[in-house]
Amino acid sequence: MTLLENPPEASAPDRPVKANWFRLLLADPAAFVSALILLLVAFVAVFGKRLAGDSAVTGDLSLSRLAPFSLDHGWQYVLGGDLLGRSLLGRLMVATQTTMSVVVPVVLISLVIGASVGMWAGYHRGWRETVAMRIADVVYSFPSLLMAVVVLYIFSPSIASIIAILAITRIPVYLRTARAESAELQTRLFVDAARTFGTPSGAIIRRHIFPIVLPTLLTVATVDFCYVMLAESSLSFLGIGVQPPDVSWGLMVAQGRDQLRTQWWLSVLPGLAIVITTVSANLLASWVRIATDPGQRWRLTTPRRRRRAARPTVLETT
């Protein structure tokens, strides 16, 4: 049921859609800033190593534990130096790449596998569903950090094995979500209709179920983004995360924890990087959720003053 029986904006398809999106983004300053931050993170992840230069790799022990916020030793040392006298800014930039090259594949792999299996299981129901769910139960009922520890002791901790194990432990999250939604959708009329036309099940899943499940999955993925970064950091705390000379934000936080009281910047700054990135991702995700939902889009455009005056109530009606 839609209370605005004809959402006013829906009746004007002739307006350029892209400009509209950008305006919607501008209308939410928090989301706009988040988008800029994520762009910056992506940029640094790609070019950071080159930008950071030598000072991120070769240390100068005389600059060991250099305090931040001083330009005396060049821009590279504006955030101070680490124990080996490398530029902390440079290290953060290099770490961005490693962190992203762990987090992004983990999220993508678990998303793709979990979503495919989940949609398949939910669509077919029956034994396929049972088997998939029981396997997910097994993975889920063993604390993921301990599983990672056991597995990383078998296969020595490399970026590839960290990605593999973290992806495995995250698959059930997507699998459960996708299964639940697809099980619900497969009873709907349009799926029935497609089935009666003889559309193969793979195509139905791809064309009819996937697009509807996707937004939910993406929301889960954003939350997971943060989870994976923290999990990687916890692994580093236990000494089996990303291994030196590679460096990730999580590893920097873990290694810097001893210096928290003396050289706080060694762990606080990479910690901030994790927090800022995940908060940005979450803010942008919640913006996407609102912007793609016609029933809620108005929130982004209603003048703030009016909104506050409005009665606190009711919004989405689908």
């Binding site: 604390p143 939350v223 923290l230 995940t278 606190p312 109530t313």
Partner: protein
Amino acid sequence: MLTFLRRRTLTSLPPLLAVVLGVFVLARLTGDPAALYLPENATAQAREQFSAAHGFDQPIWSQLIDYLAQVTRLDFGTSLRTGEPAAVMALRAFPATLQLAVVTMLLACAVATAVGCWAALRPNGLGDRISSLMSMTAASVPDFWLAILGIWVFSIMLGVLPTSGVDAGGLSWVLPIAVLMLRPAGVLTQVVRGAMIAALGSPYVKVARSKGAGERRVVVRHALKNAAPPALTVAGDLAVGLINGAVVVESIFGWPGIGKLMIDSILQRDFAVLQAAVAITAISIFVLNIGIDLGYALLDSRVRQKVGAAA
């Protein structure tokens, strides 16, 4: 209801068994502990003796059969490290973690419900934005980092809390719980907020308002009960995840719980203890899942009907 419980227990058994078997095999793949437990210059013969004495020289499947035979007699083996029965060690450590987890989850749920509901009343308002930002931040702070910072600030700088340990009464609980609950509280707040926004927007809330129901009644009686199921699911997942946090928190605060026991057992290749600890954890997770299913039934009559139908 009983039938539901019985069926649920039966379907939970194979995964439970799979977890125990999986850990058994995986743990043994991490290597023979002989080198760890024998002196550095022990002879090859001594090592073989050690392996034979503990059965590590057998093929994995035969070790597994022996182990299962043992377990059916409720004998979980003896710790290599301490010489104590593994089950005793696991059972001793379990309550400490359970208490920690229960208090943490209760507090996290309380905080999340209060803040989430409040934020949902004015979505995108200033309060909502601030609480969202705070809950997102809470959910993304590394726990070990927060633990050390907490000790520094509250124990050393302010001197109001003990640094660690369990013997300072209620005060000992403050830091571990604060650290442990931050992530669940942050995530749950977001979930409650989302579910409450959806519930507050639904027609039945309009109807309730049209009956003259006040804000309190609308939120507590009408919306919250509808928003609870999704929050319950997430709370269950977070409770399972607490074990991860417990590993870190217990290590740092010297909390004698099962998370620390498991990680130590892995490090020390103390397989018997690891298996006992994993078994008890897995069982409690299954109990938790069943509890969550029952919680659904309690909250939602539609589910209750299905549960009843199974009876």
